[in-house]
């Protein structure tokens, strides 16, 4: 009797292990395609991206479908948080083309051997959409928050996504840091400023979208956000204004084709650099990454006719911070990053 019990239990464990082994060797994602649209050459492309540009991607797909290259392509799409999406692709989610909110999420795939080393060596450095860091404020800007200095005044409550758990939140913090350096400040000055900034931060929600939600629910006086996020919120009728500070950081969202992807994926990526495609991004509040794009009226922008004014000083991650590969460990290492330490120091003092 005793043996029979253990035998059955043993069988259970062995079968379970067998099953996990099977699971590892097969691809986790079943591509459930809506089969065959009658077309010249049915091709399915898998797109994995962060959530914000979904509407623009879909509009561009419709445009592309009208071209000879894009005709007959069906899409299997997956949208979610950038880091999560990147990790999903790393661990087997099928993708031909990826669009993420920051470079590190593509770099992860380069390290995993899924994206070619030279993905960012082209004329556009792998960047398909762009934005800038802005301050979202209450309607009418009652606290007169117009500059980085205004943020650290007494009584100003700041909301910004958590730079620890959200990769794209790091644009905001680096913009703050860079604004001091751009004025000729030293690293110590920048650290002092950022410390003052963190003292005024009242919430660090999990992601950019969570931060917007918390802000719209009444948290804080100012939300550090992205121009496209602010424009989108206004398009959706939310009650906020936004201010582009004189010095700000350009946000670059990379796109890349995976190794072994269908050749159509590269044609899609090329199509993204056409004025028509970039105009679709612009409608959603993203700044075009090429010249000569006819940006019409962008609803939700401060001035819809001139939606993307050039800031007095526009920083970028490569020239001002030595790229993400240098900035990430320096600022955001969970143990020794400059920003991590500032977070801990300000957490203690309050």
């Amino acid at each position: 009797m005793r043996t029979s019990k253990w035998r059955w239990a043993g069988v259970g464990v062995v079968v379970a292990m067998g099953l996990t082994a099977c699971a590892q060797s097969s691809t986790p994602q079943d591509s459930t395609t809506s089969a065959s649209v009658a077309a010249p050459e049915p091709v399915t492309l898998n797109l994995v991206a962060f959530a914000v540009p979904k509407a623009a991607n879909n509009a561009i797909q419709a445009l592309w479908a009208k071209t000879p290259e894009g005709a007959g392509v069906t899409w299997v799409e997956s949208y979610g948080a950038s880091g999560d999406q990147s990790r999903a692709v790393e661990s087997g989610l099928k993708a031909d083309y990826v669009h993420f909110s920051l470079e590190g999420d593509v770099t992860r795939l380069v390290k995993a051997g899924l994206v070619a080393d030279d993905w960012n060596k082209g004329p556009h450095a792998g960047i398909v959409s762009s934005s800038v860091v802005v301050f979202a404020v209450r309607p009418g800007n009652p606290k007169h928050i117009d500059s980085w200095d205004d943020l650290i005044k007494d009584g100003v409550q700041i909301v910004t996504p958590n730079p620890g758990s959200s990769g794209s939140a790091r644009w905001n913090i680096l913009a703050a840091w860079g604004s001091v350096i751009a004025e000729g400040g030293s690293e110590d000055d920048a650290a002092a400023y950022t410390t003052a900034l963190f003292k005024n931060i009242v919430a660090l929600p999990g992601s950019g979208r969570d931060a917007t939600t918390a802000f719209l629910a009444g948290t804080g006086d100012v939300l550090l956000s992205y121009e496209n996020e602010a424009i989108l919120a206004k398009q959706q009728g939310e009650d906020l204004d936004y201010v582009i500070p004189d010095t700000t950081l350009r946000i670059d969202n990379p796109g890349a084709v995976l190794k072994g992807a269908n050749p159509k994926a590269q044609q899609w990526l090329d199509f993204l650099y056409t004025p028509d495609a970039q105009a679709e991004f612009a409608k959603l509040g993203f700044r075009p990454v090429i010249d000569g794009v006819k940006v019409g009226n962008v609803e939700g922008a401060n001035d819809p006719a001139n939606p993307f004014p050039v800031p007095k000083k526009l920083l970028n991650i490569n020239d001002d911070f030595g790229g993400w590969s240098a900035a990430n460990p320096k600022f955001f290492d969970p143990d020794n990053g400059i920003i991590t330490k500032i977070q801990v120091a300000t957490g203690k003092s309050s």
Binding site: M1, R2, S4, K5, R7, W8, A9, V11, G12, V13, V15, A16, M17, L19, T20, G83, R87, R108, N162, G164, S165, S166, G167, I201, V202, A203, L204, P205, G206, S207, D210, T213, A214, A217, G218, T219, N328, F332, D333, P334, D335, T340, Q343, V344, T346, G347, K348, S350
Partner: protein, 282 residues
């Protein structure tokens, strides 16, 4: 869950120890096999993988992760608030179950349904609702957003049903005759409660408490909007784990997860011991 099911079902068998004496027929042997298989796929193997991943950095890595000030603060906050909420649930959950079973009042059916809402609501929606009600734009002027109270509140919200739902069926089955007999034999209300009712309910209360503690420790969704995730103040462990993952440090993430697993295991085991003690006292 197993704790809840077995204890609740066997609650009248006071003090009987679960011995390993095998009484398996072929049919129940098969059932055991299926159980072990299912448990292995869903629980044992994934948890084993977490523990193995945590061993990557050795003892030193383990220790340095847990003593990181931000991580240590998050762990203390999470376990502390989870324990407080569990204590609260033990009392309030039992009272609510009592009211629902023993009393009849208008709107009882509605309360029955409302109790389960935290189960059904996606946690991010729960967070949004809590932020609307108890945040800066609170209609009742209670603002706990971005404070530790917000963590407590969110934990309390998502764990509310556990004790109610484990205690309720046991209370329904409980013989009122036993209570009446106790009274007629001259027992005071207090004695009846402690000697007759509580021992019968103890297994169910313990099961509910274990579930609610475990649930609170792992909570994330309802917190991301209302707790503020401020380092050393309102940041919980699931946010720390996410931070490690975002930085590609899955080993450290696994260390924190392993600690939570061990604590949850110890708490559940401790509750089981307490529950047996109380049940035997009856």
């Amino acid at each position: 869950m197993t704790l809840g099911a077995t204890r609740v079902a066997g609650s009248s068998v006071k003090g009987e120890r679960a011995t390993a004496r095998s009484t398996l027929t072929k049919g129940s042997g098969l059932a055991l096999g299926v159980s072990v298989l299912w448990l292995s796929i869903l629980v044992l193997i994934p948890l084993g993988a977490v523990v193995i991943a945590a061993r990557g950095g050795g003892w030193h890595g383990f220790w340095s992760t847990l003593t990181n000030p931000q991580t240590a603060a998050a762990i203390t906050l999470t376990l502390g608030q989870a324990a407080l909420v569990t204590v609260l649930n033990v009392f309030l959950g039992t009272i609510i179950a009592w009211v629902l079973v023993r009393d009849s009042f208008p709107g009882k059916r509605i309360v029955e349904i409302v109790i389960d809402v935290p189960f059904a609501l996606p946690t991010i929606v729960a967070g949004l609702v809590l932020l609307g009600l108890y945040g800066p734009r609170s209609p009742i002027d209670v603002n706990v957003a971005n404070t530790r109270s917000a963590v407590f509140l969110a934990f309390a919200f998502v764990t509310l049903p556990f004790v109610v739902r484990t205690v309720q069926p046991v209370l329904q089955e409980l013989d009122i005759d036993a209570e009446q007999a106790a009274y007629s034999l001259g027992a005071s209300g207090r004695q009846t409660l402690l000697r007759v009712i509580l021992p019968a309910l103890a297994p169910a209360i313990a099961a509910g408490a274990a579930l609610s503690f475990a649930r609170a420790v792992s909570e994330y969704g309802s917190l991301v909007l209302i707790s503020g995730n401020l380092a050393l103040r309102t940041e919980v462990t699931s946010v720390r784990i996410l931070t490690y993952i975002e930085n590609g440090q899955t080993g450290q993430a696994a260390v924190v997860a392993t600690l939570l697993l061990v604590v949850a295991f110890l708490v559940i085991a401790a509750l089981d011991v307490v529950q047996r003690r109380v049940a035997r006292r009856g």
